[in-house]
């Protein structure tokens, strides 16, 4: 990385730190999907679990999204929103509960296999390949696709025009908001069956945020379910078909977006009044 | 008197001369096996060898290994070490404090002549101080007056080159450049470039046959920088001839050697009992080193360090009955009867001064892909 400020870590020690892949080791599950018909399109059902051997972060938390829907998760910092997303994606092992996708129980699948099942995910942090160019980032998004990806890429570029301009630049040299756009673009490239976004609008300017929400609505209406975590909660709940408020790893409130927006309790405690 | 006595063999089985040492070790064991076969050593005491790794370069590890030999395995004498650096370390840290004698087959650095050794250190190889003179005189005979010199950058190479250059210049020759080379490196183009540019009729190579020295000759010959080479003792090796083909045709050199019976007897002995090259570097010296230790103990009448240390000079030198390789049984008989022997061995052992081989050298020329003796000096 040429510029330490845009690096995820300031440490110049490339040979000793492993800036990308640190943290708890991923669980090594290798199982198969089992049929489990019925229920919503994607559901993380009564999930309980935590990182490595640490204490549980999630306590019987349930999140679900159906075809054509947008589900939004909100909650205070550290509530376990990102953890819940990662659990759905298989990046930590659940002690209890199950994840079902499209009539199959996929709790035992590894994250790669879930990608192959059609799940697309944008993590909250380190969500781009900093040393690859913008274009290559998008290509990597489409890694599992074998068809022509140029058209999708054009769509992404139309959505985020700045990326077209900077397509040859290493993504690590972009500004914070631009990186966020790359990350979302990357996920869109997958042509997933379900899209999971962890705070896609963090750090993007209002104008881009509006477009992003528009686009998310559009995507969802075309039948692709979207599950997202948001701190710009009011805007997000407004477009949400379903809303979850998580507190300390538990479902605190659940309802349609409008319901939650209207709930004064929720407004005061989680949406900033 | 039944019993057991152990002799330590400490050589660089790993490290930069790992390809020389197996034969040296085997050669020393050959002497021990020969004695055991006769069953005549101190009325039936069996000898056994304990090997240890000197690493050739790591004096701390070598010291530890020697320490183990002496204090754990309880060896009464040490045959070794090989490289001069570790030899010095073992001598002052282990041998002298514990009063254990050591005979090195190959540590040739002149500096060891003056080491404080409490009369415990001997070597069956001559000091390089002498070899330098021999090499210089050979060049005089060949009528060469200008040479370039390259040596392996260790105490052996440096010491030899110092003494050679001094002797050669004293005899009126001129040395265009003295360039060291490191062993086992990937590339010697730089050295060759400089040596070639400096010029000289002959390139004097004071290195190791299966290491830097070979690389240097190969590169010098390939580029056409030199066509005649003079080789120091470390370069004497059949493998070198085999590998380099006719490149060495017409080159010459010197190697510690002994005329006649000893060497032949040793070669026969090896041919009969073992399978290593009897003409390899320092294999003869190794046999002799081990044999001397055994004979010295026999002479002293007990398998102890002090007996060995006290009698090495005695059994090695005249007067007495000359003993060749393969005749150790006879020697033991003589000693048992209280007689006197003069161990000749494979290298015509004659220990002088502080206990090192006087050294005769074989001046050879390479003709028809073989070492042809010109004369001994």
């Amino acid at each position: 990385m040429s510029d330490p400020l845009h690096d995820d870590r300031g440490n110049r020690d490339r040979s000793i730190t492993n800036p990308a892949g640190q943290g708890a080791p991923l669980p090594g599950h290798r199982g198969r999907a089992r049929p489990a018909p019925g229920g919503p399109f994607l559901i993380g059902d009564a999930m309980t679990g935590g990182y490595g051997r640490g204490a549980d972060i999630l306590h019987g938390c349930t999140i679900a999204v159906d075809r054509g829907e947008i589900a939004v998760i909100v909650g205070p910092n550290g509530a376990g929103k990102s953890t819940a997303m990662k659990a759905v994606f298989g990046m930590l092992s659940l002690r209890e509960g199950a994840v079902r996708l499209d009539g199959e129980d996929i709790s035992a699948l590894s994250p790669q296999d879930r990608v192959k099942k059609g799940m697309g995910f944008v993590p909250q942090t380190s969500n781009i390949f900093t040393s690859l160019s913008v274009e290559e980032n998008l290509e990597m998004g489409a890694f599992i696709r074998d068809d022509d990806i140029r058209e999708t890429m054009e769509q992404v570029f139309d959505l985020f025009p700045i990326l077209r301009e900077k397509r040859r630049q290493p993504a690590g040299e972009l500004s914070g908001g631009q990186r966020q756009q790359v990350a979302v673009g990357r996920a869109l490239m997958t042509k997933p069956k379900v899209l999971m976004l962890d705070e896609p609008t963090a750090g993007v300017s209002p104008i881009v945020m509006d477009e992003l929400f528009d686009r998310i609505i559009e995507v969802a209406r075309s039948g692709l379910p979207v599950l997202m975590v948001e701190q710009n909660a009011r805007q997000a709940l407004e477009i949400a078909d379903k809303g979850y408020v998580l507190v300390q790893g538990r479902n605190a409130h659940t309802g349609t977006g409008r319901d939650l927006l209207a709930d004064p309790d929720v407004r005061r405690s989680f949406l900033g009044g | 008197q039944d019993g057991e006595a152990k002799i330590g063999i400490i050589l660089g089985f790993t490290g930069p001369i790992e390809s020389l040492t197996p034969a040296m070790g085997a050669s020393a064991e050959l002497a021990i096996a020969e004695v055991n076969e006769t069953g005549k050593f101190l009325g039936g005491t069996t000898l056994s060898a304990v090997q240890a790794d000197s690493t050739c370069v790591d004096s701390a590890a070598a010291t530890a290994a020697a320490e183990r030999l002496v204090t754990t395995d309880g060896v009464v004498a040490i045959m070794g070490a090989d490289c001069s650096g570790v030899t010095g370390a073992i001598l002052s840290n282990v041998a002298v404090p514990n009063g254990v004698p050591m005979i090195s087959p190959s540590a040739t650095s002149p500096g060891l002549s003056n080491a404080e050794d409490n009369d415990l250190f001997f070597r069956t190889a001559p000091s390089d101080a002498r070899q330098g003179e021999v090499l210089a005189s050979i060049l005089g005979d060949e009528g060469v007056s200008s040479v370039a010199v390259t040596y392996t950058n260790n105490d052996y190479g440096k010491g030899l080159s110092d003494s050679f250059v001094a002797a050669f210049e004293a005899a009126g020759g001129s040395v265009t450049l003295v360039a060291p080379h490191e062993d086992n490196k990937a590339d010697y183009s730089a050295e060759i470039g400089s040596l070639a540019s400096a010029g000289g009729d002959v390139l004097v190579v004071l290195g190791y046959a299966d290491s830097g020295g070979k690389g240097i000759i190969q590169a010098a010959a390939d580029t056409g920088a030199f066509s005649t080479f003079m080789l120091g003792d470390g370069m004497y090796s059949d493998a070198l001839l085999a590998d380099l083909g006719d490149v060495l045709e017409g080159s010459y050199g010197a190697v510690p050697w002994s005329e006649g019976d000893g060497a032949t007897a040793f070669a026969d002995l090896v041919g009969e009992k073992a399978d290593f090259n009897p003409e390899g570097s320092y294999t003869r010296e190794s046999y002799d080193a081990a044999a001397l230790l055994i004979l010295a103990m026999a002479k002293g009448g007990e398998a102890t360090s002090s007996a060995a240390a006290a009698n090495v000079m005695d059994v090695a030198n005249a007067p007495g009955e000359p003993i060749l390789p393969g005749e150790l049984g006879r020697a033991l008989d003589i000693l048992a009867e209280g007689g006197d022997i003069d161990y000749v061995g494979a290298t015509n052992v004659e220990l002088i001064g502080p206990g090192e081989a006087a050294g005769t050298y074989r001046y050879y020329q390479i003709t028809g892909g073989a070492f042809e003796t010109v004369e001994f000096r």
Partner: protein
């Protein structure tokens, strides 16, 4: 297992290893391992200071250790009067000239106008070099030709050898300061190769500057801080008290001498360890960990990262220098060609990592254990091979394997290393 229990059991293991050697092999071997273990532990403390505390990837340990070794010669060997007369002053003058021209060059670089400072510096350096060679070379040649086979160098100051230890530290610190000033700005892997290179340069100087310490011809017979075994064996009082212990004079004297070294070394190790431990536990240690963790953030939080790096680099190197001097004292000789990166840099690194980097106790334990293995794998390897070949029928393969038994040494070392790291990947006593 709690951290402290772990620490205790690892050190228990160290004790068992050393005592076991004493019981099963000999106390001499055990003490020798202990002594080198102490020295190794100090070296690995030095590296741990740089790496574990500050994240500096110093792969030039060998160079600092060698400088420590050099200091022993410079401090303790008697001066060679003849050599000084032959060219000592010339050499000093030459060196002074060299230093002067470098200083001028640096001055010119900072003072002269940008446009032509490059040329000015180059001119100063070239002129300085020519002058230096002209003064220096004849002096060196004269010194080296004084009795080349046995001396050929200037000798040292003839002071007590223990003085060489702090001097070794200073020498290493000085070198580290120069290196740090130029190279510490590099990213770690590049810093690594730069230090590796500088270490090679130090060794090259030691090998080739014969006037300094005889180069590859080695200086042997260095003075010792403890009595000589032979003298002890001749001392009737000692022989008597040895008999009182039921020991023969030789064994008693060798044990006595080694124990003397062990005490001296242990004193140094404990001093270094205590200081390092105090430092690590203090706000200074916290700051260093922060710097190691994230330099950019540490800078923004007002920490002068460059200065701190330099400080740690110099300190760690000085410790390696002290250990180097101690080791050369123990060896009793300076042999420049034994300085090889595998043994003096990478083995130390193995000690730090296996012990547990960032943890002083870990580094010390690693020093002992790895040194023990380095020495003891040889018989272990032989035993292992014996085990493998025992059930085989005699034949070509068995003979071949038995012939290759020497290669078991490194192989066993590798195997053990992998096993240790496999079962405790963060080191035996991890940082936290």
């Amino acid at each position: 297992m709690t951290q402290s229990l772990r620490t205790v059991s690892v050190f228990g293991l160290v004790a068992v290893l050393i005592l076991g050697t004493g019981v099963l092999q000999s106390w001499n071997s055990a003490l020798l391992i202990l002594n080198m273990g102490l020295v190794s532990a100090i070296m690995s403390l030095g590296v741990n200071l740089q790496w574990g505390f500050a994240g500096l990837f110093n792969v030039g340990v060998m160079g600092f250790v060698a400088l420590g070794g050099l200091s022993v010669v410079l401090v303790s060997m008697p001066p060679v009067g003849e050599a000084w007369a032959a060219g000592g002053l010339r050499i000093l003058a030459g060196l002074a000239l060299g230093a002067l021209s470098v200083a001028c060059a640096v001055l010119a670089w900072t003072r002269a106008p940008r446009a032509w400072r490059g040329w000015a510096v180059a001119a100063i350096l070239v002129a300085g070099f020519v002058l230096y060679r002209a003064v220096f070379a004849p002096g060196a040649a004269a010194v080296e030709s004084v009795n080349a086979a046995t001396s050929g160098y200037l000798g040292g100051l003839g002071l007590p050898v223990v003085l060489a230890w702090p001097v070794g530290g200073l020498l290493a610190a000085g070198a580290a300061w120069i290196i740090g000033k130029t190279a510490l700005g590099l990213r770690s892997d590049y810093l690594a190769i730069a230090t590796l290179g500088i270490a090679e340069i130090v060794i090259a100087i030691l090998k080739n500057e014969d006037w300094l310490a005889r180069g590859v011809k080695n200086v042997i017979g260095l003075p010792r801080p403890v009595p000589n075994e032979i003298d002890l064996q001749r001392d009737p009082g000692f022989v008597e008290s040895a008999a009182g212990w039921g020991l023969d004079p030789t064994t008693a004297s060798t044990l006595y001498v080694k124990a003397g070294y062990a005490l001296l070394f242990a004193a140094v190790l404990i001093a270094v360890l205590v200081l390092a431990q105090l430092a690590l536990r203090s706000p200074w240690g916290r700051m260093m960990r922060a710097i190691r963790d994230n330099e950019t953030a540490a800078r923004a939080m007002g920490k002068d990262v460059t200065r701190r790096h330099l400080q740690v680099f110099v300190l760690g190197s000085a410790i390696c220098g002290i250990a180097g001097a101690m080791m050369t004292t123990l060896d009793g000789q300076l042999t420049p060609s034994t300085y090889q990166p595998l043994r003096y840099t990478f083995l130390i690194w193995v000690m730090v990592i296996v012990g547990g980097s960032g943890n002083n106790y870990g580094a010390v334990a690693g020093g002992f254990i790895i040194w023990f293995l380095w020495v003891q794998v040889e018989p272990m390897g032989q035993a292992l091979m014996g085990l493998i070949t025992a059930p085989m029928s005699d034949g070509w393969l068995k003979a071949h394997l038995l012939d290759s038994v020497q290669h078991m040494r490194l192989l066993t070392m590798g195997l053990i290393l992998l096993l240790v790291l496999r079962f405790s990947p963060r080191g035996l006593i991890p940082e936290r």
